[in-house]
Subunit: 206 residues, 2 copies
Amino acid sequence: MEPVRLKRDRVVLDTSLFVNPVVRSDFGNTPTEAIESFLSLAVQIPTLEFYMPSSIFKELLNFIEPEKISGDLLTILHQKSPRKHELTCPAFLLYELIEDIRERINKGLRVAEKAVRSVQRGDEKEVIQGLRRNYRDALREGIIDSKEDVDLILLAKELNALLITVDYGAIKWAEKLGIRWLLPNKFKDYLLSSIKRAKLQQVDVS
Amino acid sequence: MEPVRLKRDRVVLDTSLFVNPVVRSDFGNTPTEAIESFLSLAVQIPTLEFYMPSSIFKELLNFIEPEKISGDLLTILHQKSPRKHELTCPAFLLYELIEDIRERINKGLRVAEKAVRSVQRGDEKEVIQGLRRNYRDALREGIIDSKEDVDLILLAKELNALLITVDYGAIKWAEKLGIRWLLPNKFKDYLLSSIKRAKLQQVDVS
């Protein structure tokens, strides 16, 4: 008789879950601790598969002590890039992206003009520092602005997975594309509930 | 007996063909003249269908005297938006767009910093004017930066048409998407050759 397969769901993780001190507090005091604590829960949930885009995993490696992390990481958190040459996105998203960029570019120019006008009154070095901060805020906030963000979104789309991220730009796109998402501060509850449900399913099966 | 149908090809036109003085010189001294001259050629080519995205046509109306233009415009130059909610684009283009934007955003910041540093030496008003010019050059050149540009590209893709444009950003995307394109300064020759070929086809058919 064939073994009964459990219904499996997929989850795509962003690094913020382990790296951002506010976000990871549910899991541990350091990124390394947070991963260990995640693994100890994840290993109890045969009904879930966890994924992280390779590019994001590479970022994560800068924050952790790999020698302290259990080999379970390799079998529990799958590293995988999205199939970017096979996937497509709806064309109307291009319009939204282009509009978004236009607005931000105009904002950036206003920030720059303000900086030029304030030089007479302030120290040039300080003005430049302020310019850099304000400019980045104006142009980067809320937009998908890196290849890693695109990887996250596309991998979640490809796998029809739940996306765990705190990145506002990624969440906005997840909403546009009908991708399920969850803030990391709810993720521990999600895992605990999944453990409970997985046990019930196993009882049912046996 | 059914009438024999000629093989038809499609062409999507940008406004620059009629509006840009350098580009339109083949066709006439004013936008209105250029359109009339285009129509007089186009009407002789039953093998070609001409299209313009509605958004681009709306732009064109700002430059022409509609009352001086023949009603042939309505049957020869079709206005049509792309099916933006049905079309898709390959996901790898998102990566290229995001990378392109990142580079341009960084360029914009360097332009702004340079302006702040030059205020001590120059007149504030002049510095601001220079900033605006340089900033726009840095952020807009070579990128698809308007809904109208996206309309052009997507309509050409949808219709599998030849795109006539001088816009560098649109040409770059046409290359990525495998869309045929032609610079407007070759377009008159293209029309004249098409007239010749259409006549030969008609002789063959009869």
